[in-house]
């Protein structure tokens, strides 16, 4: 079997946790297929790349960050060229912003079939099959890639990053880039400082129209803070302008899979459920005992959010 290559994305001088999830998936696939698991990271600092040793990769390849700047086209070139050099039969990405933008280009460069946003990967003989949510999470498709080289991106938070320390070899590699690899370039990054993104959170507390007005969202923020989670929202709340679209959970918002999702004064419309039904546990709070959300929850409290949320926040925090 040909090797498994995983893209290790660096952010803030660290390999992103979602990339370590993908590294673990690469390790597991390599083990079942009797192949090597190889990571590629764009960094000049060995200490940063070395972190991946803990996740069982056989080799870690470091490529110098290009002087021209940051471009997903350049990332695609680097990963695709590395895949060719290392005769990779499978390339893994996290299905985060970078992975989703980059992976299809890598697939075209390698004449590979690509499956995005996978929630399971399985080696079956020489083949690899993947499961991915479709129709906004209303169904799960099991798919197979028919090309010799296969590319997958993995939904964040679904695969666990498991420690399997190894004395991985760390190598440096040179990849030559052309002007066309910088035809789209990142100019500026605007981070919402100190705010945890729903896609990266293990706990999400979301509010719905039943909160009545934007100011009442402090109840949601307080509970999220007490639980160490992120703030999410239903579309009704985003459309009303109370919260930014980046917080919208659902079929036309973000698809999340935290350990705990708390839905406060959200009715549980099918488009909302599609975005959060991958959560491990769901706690619903609604004053209407017949709200559809109660048919799709693990825990439910029937009552007024304005009374329940302060109490819950105090009890969780205490």
């Amino acid at each position: 079997m040909k090797n498994i290559l995983v893209y290790l994305e660096i952010d803030n001088n660290k390999i992103k946790r979602v990339s370590l999830e993908a590294a673990t998936a690469a390790y597991n696939l390599a083990k079942s297929l009797g192949a090597k698991a190889i990571g590629v990271a764009i960094t000049a600092q060995k200490e940063i790349a070395a972190k991946a040793k803990e996740y069982g990769l056989d080799e870690i390849i470091m490529v110098n960050p290009p002087a021209e700047g940051n471009s997903s086209l350049a990332v695609a070139r680097i990963v695709a060229e590395t895949a060719k050099k290392e005769s990779a039969g499978c390339v893994l990405f996290s299905a985060n912003a970078t992975g989703l933008e980059t992976a299809p280009r890598v697939a075209v460069k390698l004449e590979a079939g690509y499956v995005a946003d996978c929630i399971a990967l399985q080696a079956e003989g020489e083949d690899i099959t993947a499961k991915k949510p479709v129709y906004g999470g209303k169904a799960i498709a099991k798919v197979k890639v028919n090309t010799p080289v296969k590319v997958f991106s993995l939904r964040p938070n679904v695969f666990t990053a498991a420690v399997n320390p190894k004395e991985s070899e760390i190598k440096e590699a040179q990849i030559s880039l052309a002007a066309e690899d910088f035809a789209a370039k990142v100019n500026k990054v605007m981070k919402n400082e100190g705010k945890l993104d729903v896609l990266e959170a293990d706990i999400i507390v979301s509010g719905g129209r039943g909160l009545k007005e934007a100011a009442n969202y402090n109840l949601i923020e307080n509970l999220a803070k007490a639980m160490g989670g992120a703030v999410g929202a239903s579309r009704a709340v985003v459309d009303a302008g109370w919260r930014p679209h980046s917080e919208q959970v659902g079929q036309t918002g973000k698809t999340v899979s935290p350990s705990l999702y708390v839905a406060c004064a959200i009715s549980g419309a099918i488009q909302h459920l599609a975005g959060m039904n991958g959560s491990k546990y769901i706690l619903a709070i609604n004053k209407d005992k017949d709200a559809p959300i109660f048919k799709n929850c693990d825990y439910g409290l029937v009552g007024d959010v304005f009374e329940i949320l302060p109490k819950l926040t105090e009890k969780v925090g205490g």
Partner: protein, 248 residues
Amino acid sequence: MNILVCVARVPDTASRILVAGDGKSIEKQGIKFIVNPYDEFALEEALRLREKNGGTVTAITVGEDISTDVLRTSLAMGVDKAILIKGEEPRDSYYVAKNIANVAKEINPDLILLGKQSVDFDSLQLPSMLGELLGMPSVSVVSALEIKDNQITAERDIEGGKEQVTAKLPAIISAQKGLNDPRYPKLPDIMKAKAKPIDTREAEKTEPMISVISLEIPSRNRLGKVMEATDANIDEIVRLLHVEAKVI
């Protein structure tokens, strides 16, 4: 400026999805099909750019005869031309991308607009794939777009914020919600759109790069412990979150 907008035909988001008899596709009976919601943002952006800079907007879809309906909707919203690439129902993104790329090579658009994903198979790959096939830069999941003197400045969503990306035309952009508020087609325009010509072409067949083996409806058996919100029950829920779910 000449703009090509890619439009996908997808089940209405309110649809209940059931698996068809073959075990790998959905039961289409009773499902209403619509323009992919993200493609409405792409269409709207194209129309606004035309209103500002002049030019032509062409909508394109790859699908069966029945996909004409999304082209009619696009015409009713105001696009100038519509192209149907007719063939079997698309089974993988490469087939769609290849066929759109064929047309793009012929009409040389300055800008290709798409949605960030189609809410049927959620393939999440056409914009970058098309970019690679055409040797064009692409920026995906864009919620703000500015074009001046052939220079694009686009804001795209990333984890915990946004990034600003620059590129030169010709380029590809995929639309995220927030880019604009799509217009509703007016009744007279819907009527007029029915009579407009649709340029229909035969699709080029490709070998499927991926195949669906099976489709299943996820059935997660939720615990369903729903109770009145008395103080004692709130305590109980907190306890369960600690000891049963072990999530806090």
